[in-house]
């Protein structure tokens, strides 16, 4: 069985791959969402996304239970997306892809205002894997020497998850 965190990352990957024309998006991210990959070569077709983890863990998780072994922690992930530049306005496509990612992520929290029920029940809280998700704000960058040959964006997302060293794997 996968660890709880990997299970969440895989589910997030699958959800982001839902950015495709069948769901009304202008992009097709199927097979183009990667986990933990910071470097890409020219052989990786654009656009693509990578899910990275912020370098610092939650410094103040909320702990509880016996021996305070259970916690609710903020797990910060960085979504980085690369696009083919627009020659005239290089970052325009990056803004568009970032907006598509934000819209797709909103499925995880969106509710119907009329009755309070999830707008996309299957995606809500990533299939109830999360307590909460905070999206952004992100930033867009043009190509930069020694950093990226293509325009890109960063979008931080903070996942609030319940965890414990006593239960690091998903329930089979």
């Amino acid at each position: 069985m996968p660890s709880r965190q990997l299970d969440i990352l895989r589910a997030l990957t699958a959800h982001l791959e839902g950015i495709n024309p069948e769901n009304g998006y202008d992009y097709d991210m199927r097979g183009r969402v990667f986990r933990g990959r910071a470097e890409f070569g020219d052989d990786t077709p654009l656009p693509h996304l990578s899910i990275l983890e912020a370098p610092r863990p939650d410094a103040e998780p909320v702990v509880g239970g016996h021996e305070r072994a259970f916690m609710s922690e903020d797990w910060t992930l960085l979504l980085q997306g690369w696009v083919d530049d627009d020659k005239t306005n290089p970052t325009d496509p990056a803004y568009e892809l970032k907006a598509a990612v934000e819209l797709r992520l909103s499925d995880l929290v969106a509710i119907r205002v009329a009755n309070g029920l999830p707008l996309v029940p299957s995606a809500y809280r990533l299939g109830n894997r999360l307590s909460h998700i905070a999206i952004g704000p992100g930033m867009v960058s043009p190509p930069r020497p020694n950093i990226s040959a293509k325009a890109f964006f960063y979008l931080p997302i903070v996942l609030k998850i319940a965890s414990s060293p006593t239960a690091p794997f998903t329930t089979p």
């Binding site: 009755n115 809280r125 319940a162 414990s164």
Partner: protein
Amino acid sequence: MPTFTNNLTLGRGRLYFGRFPTGTLVAPGVKYFGNTPAVSLNVAEEVLEHFDSDQGLRIKDRVVTLSQEMSGSFQTDNMSRANLALFFAAEEGTTSQTSAAGVVESFSGIVEDSYINLGVTANRPQGHRGLTTVTSVVKGATTLVAGTDYEVDLVNGRIWLSGASTVISAGDSVAVTYTVPAAVIQQITDLNESIYGRLEYISDNPVGDNYNYIWPYVKLTADGELALKGDEWQVANFNFEVLRLSSNTPRQIILPA
């Protein structure tokens, strides 16, 4: 999400309120309140204590509960018309505006650099809304120039009189000719009645067992201030007292979700 030992719980849920029509104790339905960042309950007891005072230290030997009150509070950032009406114990309603062309309204003793509201009466303090046009503003035989002597706010039904105008001055009288369209205008007005109703909390915890709470009869009141301006999301705070609907109706029912 895991279910930990001791049923550790991260609380989430939705709040629904059904307002009792005046004179009844039955809600025709319950409506979603919108996002409620905080919901909490409070139980308070008044007790009568007895102490053995015959020797040494006074030792408490009896406690009797005289009364018990249940109440709660919550906060919503859904600043909807319905929630504003509840906050002010007011009523959502509409008012009809009748179309009228060429309405002439006179104003005396004007103040420069100020707005005058068109169509204000004792029964219509908000005045006319969404004007079609302001045809003219005249002072005696002199027609004022729009953009120079005055500016028109058609949406809010008012005219701003410029202090820079060389035609008008404080204390003058002006006459405004305008056209009012027919409209049904939504508004929230005072009701001056207490708000009673049925309140439901539908639990949706990401961690821990879910328990729904039903309070068949509560009195709802606003709590504290409503910040109309600020750099935080606007919120409305409410308190509710849990009452007993009848002798055979529990004040509170907790159900597994």
